[in-house]
């Protein structure tokens, strides 16, 4: 498989899994959590790296996901104490964990591949160099398998728990009364977001993770009238953004992550302006029609 196709494939699948998680976050008004989690998983990776002594251990995955959950839990604890508002809680917790991670890396792990640049910015261009081999035979880039695995996990999660997720996101109390534990669903969701962020960061960087958790979901939110359609639209918007971004990055020779995030922003902008019912133009026309005397 040519390297460019591999890159494109990884980009599309990663973008799609981020879009699924992002949709779950957006309808609950938690998009900024993606930002927090995608930063703090760095601490998990560092700690797991110290524990495992290498960068190839599955421990890294688990450690990172665990710290992602810790971030969410700490934030909620602060909110529950009623001393801090929700947004401030996020703003206090995640920079602390990220700062700790940066200190640990620069002080104790600066010699290894684990530098903050890779985490924040990622490097999709290198993805084709890491090969997956089975019995000595090259079966494609490793990133293809991780991103495909993640996408499968994300899709399986939303398909299997579709009605539960819809209920808990729309009306938490009703979910509780019906016996679908909101806390359990919430933490399952957060675990999925953390896992997706970890699985994606090393190929595309945490910035792109945030962009793809936020923009395609917001695009879909403007277009869709039902939760199912919103998920589908988010995945489609993510795939289009990924393809456009990769092509643009190749053509202009700029960073893949940057170009993909920009493309996702442009797709959102298009929806923002022109979405039939919810777009700016639509809203403007309706306001004008409303003002006109009958």
């Amino acid at each position: 498989m040519p390297a460019e196709l591999e890159i494109g494939l990884i980009a599309v699948m990663t973008a799609a899994s981020c879009a699924v998680c992002g949709s779950l976050l957006l309808v609950r008004g938690m998009t900024m959590t993606a930002d927090a989690v995608s930063h703090t998983i760095l601490l998990g990776i560092v700690l797991a790296y110290f524990a495992a002594g290498g960068l190839d251990s599955p421990l890294l995955f688990l450690g990172a996901a665990a710290v992602g959950l810790v971030t969410v839990a700490l934030g909620e604890l602060l909110v529950k104490s009623r001393l801090v508002s929700e947004d401030s809680a996020v703003g206090v917790v995640f920079p602390l964990l990220f700062a700790l991670a940066v200190i640990l890396i620069t002080r104790y792990a600066s010699s290894v591949h684990l530098d903050t640049d890779t985490v924040l910015l990622g490097e999709l261009a290198f993805a084709p160099f890491e090969r997956m081999t089975v019995f000595g035979a090259d079966i494609g880039a490793k990133g293809i398998y991780t991103s495909a695995g993640l996408l499968a996990l994300d899709l399986l999660f939303v398909v299997a728990l579709f009605k539960e997720l819809k209920t808990v996101s729309f009306d938490r109390t009703a979910a509780l009364v019906m016996g679908f534990s909101p806390a359990l669903l919430h933490y399952l969701m957060m675990a999925l977001v953390s896992l997706t962020a970890v699985g994606s960061f090393d190929t595309v960087g945490s910035v792109l993770v945030v962009a793809f958790m936020a923009a395609p979901a917001a695009t879909a939110y403007l277009l869709a009238e039902s939760f199912g359609k919103m998920l589908a639209a988010a995945v489609a918007a993510a795939a289009i953004s990924a393809i456009v971004g990769v092509r643009a990055a190749l053509a202009l020779d700029v960073s893949f992550a940057g170009a993909m995030a920009t493309a996702a922003g442009l797709v959102f902008l298009a929806a923002l302006v022109a979405a039939p019912k919810r777009g700016l133009v639509g809203a403007y026309l309706r306001r004008r029609a409303g003002k006109r005397p009958r």
Binding site: V27, G29, K163, T167, F170, D171, M178, G179, E225, F227
Partner: protein
């Protein structure tokens, strides 16, 4: 007496001051019960505690029907829901069937036709495909009522379902709830408008931090009890 819900010595506090203090009351099965009281009396908190959403500091709530999945129905305060959520009226009604389905199982044909039937019962079948935020307050409440109907619960809790609702919707909602009580279901409702208590309900709990009075409307809904719940506070507020 056949009890649908019983509250014993309930004390609830969010911070350090109690919101409810030593509340005890019973609601008989098949009754249409109102919870009334001045603002800040703890009506919503009482309902939330009865539903198990708020953990009391002391005391207990017994709802015999709770053993069965989906036996407790709930209609939210209309402003507590996210009007922008991408969901249609029909999907909201269908949600009522989820309780009895349990985890992972998907709604089948029977569930779908039941949801449609419930939308018809509340007169909202024409709006089935509308996104929830495109409906008026009264219409939204009727959709939530359809969800509760679809759930086929034993006891229904409604938190001020008539707030911000037009007269047509109000009449429709009350007549449906009365129908439920006639079938032997119990309806408990936080209510604001004292003028309609006598017309609508047969059981009432007047609360203000504690229970001022609780019983059949004809027995306890008298000026003395209302004054005790309301005026004293008003007088204090005026000081």
């Amino acid at each position: 007496m056949n009890t649908a819900a019983e509250v014993r010595h309930l004390t609830v506090s969010y911070g350090e001051k109690p919101v409810l203090e030593d509340v005890s009351l019973t609601i008989p099965r098949g009754s249409f019960a109102a919870i009334v009281g001045p603002n800040g009396a703890g009506k919503t908190t009482l309902m939330k505690t009865m539903l198990g959403l708020v953990k009391p500091l002391a005391g207990e709530v017994t709802i015999p029907a709770r053993g069965r999945r989906g036996a407790v129905g709930y209609v939210p305060q209309s402003e507590s829901i996210d009007r922008d959520f991408p969901i249609s009226a029909y999907e909201v009604a269908l949600m009522g069937r989820y309780a009895s389905l349990g985890w992972f199982r998907r709604p089948g044909k029977a569930d779908k036709s039941a949801a449609e039937e419930c939308l018809r019962r509340v007169g909202m079948e024409k709006f089935a495909s509308r996104q929830i935020g495109e409906l008026s307050g009264g219409q939204q409440q009727r959709v939530f009522l359809a969800r509760a109907l679809a759930q086929d619960a034993e006891i229904y809790f409604l938190d001020e379902p008539l707030k911000g609702v037009d007269a047509v919707s109000e009449r429709a909602i009350i007549s449906i709830l009365r129908g439920l009580c006639a079938e032997g279901k119990t309806v408990v409702m936080v209510h604001h408008d004292l003028r309609t208590v006598r017309d609508y309900f047969d059981w009432v709990s007047i609360i203000n931090l504690g229970v001022v009075a609780s019983g059949a409307v004809k027995d306890v809904f008298c000026e003395r009890n209302i004054d005790r719940a309301y005026s004293r506070r008003a007088a204090e507020a005026a000081v």
